[in-house]
């Protein structure tokens, strides 16, 4: 036990120490005038802005606006992604019909269609939610389909030989069998959603973390910008943690992975 425990302790210590050292180094360099605080700021200056922004509720309000857009967009993209992905995985005919369209539209950068989205949906909430939904949709769709196609044929045979209905194929074979891949898609989709929210809030937004970042940039307020970046990082952490918890809850049959930790 001794050796393993010591190794684990050392690893834990290093992962706390290394960012702390980085921050300390940054602060020292800034104070010594070796980095330009007008561009790179310094940890103490950023904290000096972040804490009041949090306490006043201003930053939290903008975060809340972004979270709503992300959650709505994520759901609007993930749900059809799962349903279509399952259908394409289960039925060769559906796959043959939709695959070409997916293959052609998937590589288009989602940022490139933002002007089009703005034209169609206007400057309101819908355009932001839709941008995120599109990004999430493709990743979930493609992962879900791959998940179903990877299910061992034997399980489809079992379902067929026990007289499973079409609905049973979805609910007792395709969905549970593809769930691990679906979650991989969710996680990729969440990363994309965080990327897209900032871009979506660049134009025609009056609130949101992205909006906050662009405003800070306009006013060259580096500390406010960094505060928002910290908030984005926290958001990313919370969302991925939430997905992990959800995954463990919906996939209780997944053997615990040995590489964890």
């Amino acid at each position: 036990m001794g050796k393993r425990w010591r190794e684990a302790f050392a690893a834990r210590t290093v992962s706390v120490l290394s960012p702390a050292l980085l921050l300390a180094g940054w602060e020292l360099l800034a104070r010594a005038g070796l980095v330009d605080v007008r561009v790179f700021s310094s940890p103490s200056r950023i904290l000096g802005t972040l804490i009041p922004a949090l306490l006043s509720g201003e930053l939290l309000y903008h975060t809340w606006v972004s979270v709503c857009r992300i959650v709505l967009g994520f759901a609007a993209g993930a749900l059809p992604g799962v349903v279509l992905g399952l259908s394409m995985g289960l039925f060769p005919f559906v796959r043959a019909a939709l695959q070409p369209m997916v293959a052609v539209t998937f590589p288009i950068p989602k940022l490139a269609i933002m002007p089009l989205i703005l034209l169609v949906f206007g400057l309101g909430e819908t355009s932001k939610v839709f941008t995120i939904a599109v990004g999430v949709f493709y990743l979930v769709l493609i992962n879900t389909m791959a998940g179903v196609l990877n299910i061992d044929r034997i399980y489809l045979d079992v379902a067929r030989s026990f007289g499973a209905s079409r609905r049973d194929f979805y609910l007792t074979v395709a969905l549970p069998g593809a769930l691990p891949m679906i979650f991989a898609g969710f996680k990729l989709g969440m990363g994309t959603a965080l990327l897209l929210i900032v871009a979506a809030e660049l134009s025609a937004a009056r609130a949101g973390v992205g909006y906050w970042i662009w405003r800070a940039y306009d006013m060259f307020d580096i500390e406010r910008m960094f505060s928002a970046l910290l908030m984005m990082s926290a958001l990313g952490f919370v969302f991925s943690y939430a997905l992990d918890v959800l995954e463990r809850w919906v996939i209780p049959w997944k053997p615990p992975s040995s590489s964890a930790g």
Partner: protein
């Protein structure tokens, strides 16, 4: 005896992706009586699984005719125990066993005692809430057997169901299978690579030729039931039969080796 399954001139050719055609079955003629226990032996790759899959409706024969006389109305026609691990990793042992009943929309209150009965029979009752990744290979195979039995079909199709079990468990399961079969007299088609097992269990033993599988011989097993599996091995009738089947099989395996060398 009334016929449960009539197979006439059935052939199966698989068309591979690279245009390679594999003839798995050729001109099979076979009649299986209602309530009969038929064992099937044959060299590996001779089409035993293919035959069962055709009977289960999972595969369509390329030629010939298969007729399955349905037994009791309201009951499923066939249930199959697959050769490979086929229990759903995402269902608990209990839910796996109940799968067929659930697909037939049997009310949960009716499912419950049936599932419990077969869990006890297969010695899995302590593992009812476990997931398959927590089970040994032999236990998974028992879940698969329990799932087929719980479904209460007219015809049981078993594809080397005890292949991965150790000798003691295998003997217990064979005795259990015979007990259940003697109680219900379901038609059973049982594929095995063990000559002993075929004689222990069967009313008749079908010996198949090397690929493409044809009927090489059909042998009556003239041993009284209920059978005492432990003492059966030393009876002259058992030894004779065992020798005859081995003789047929050896011819086929030799023929296959010969063909293989020529290739």
């Amino acid at each position: 005896m009334e016929a449960a399954i009539v197979i006439r001139g059935v052939s199966k050719v698989f068309a591979g992706r690279n245009g390679l055609r594999v003839a798995a079955l050729e001109q099979i003629d076979l009649t299986i009586g209602a309530g009969e226990f038929l064992c099937v032996v044959g060299p590996s790759g001779c089409g035993k699984t293919t035959l069962l899959r055709i009977l289960a409706g999972l595969e369509q024969q390329s030629a010939g005719r298969v007729e399955i006389r349905s037994g009791e109305p309201g009951k499923p026609l066939t249930s199959m125990v697959f050769q490979e691990t086929s229990i759903f990793p995402w269902l608990t042992v209990k839910d796996n066993v109940a799968y067929g009943l659930r697909m037939r929309r049997v009310p949960p209150a009716v499912q419950e005692p049936i599932v419990e009965h077969y869990l006890r029979l297969t010695g899995l009752d302590k593992f009812r809430d476990a997931y398959p990744h927590q089970l040994s290979g032999g236990m998974k195979q028992r879940v698969s057997v329990a799932r087929a039995f719980a479904n209460d079909p007219s015809i049981l199709l078993l594809d080397e169901p005890f292949g991965s079990l150790d000798e003691q468990t295998r003997l217990l399961m064979q005795e259990e299978l015979l007990r259940i079969w003697e109680a219900h007299r379901k038609t059973a088609v049982f594929v095995t690579h063990s000559i002993d097992e075929a004689i222990f269990l069967g009313d008749r033993v079908l010996v198949m030729t090397a690929r493409p599988g044809r009927v090489k011989a059909i042998l009556e097993v003239d041993l009284p039931r209920p059978r005492d599996l432990v003492n059966l091995r030393s009876q002259p009738a058992f030894l004779d039969l065992s020798r005859t089947i081995w003789h047929y099989l050896r011819e086929e395996v030799r023929a296959e080796e010969h063909a293989g060398r020529k290739l």
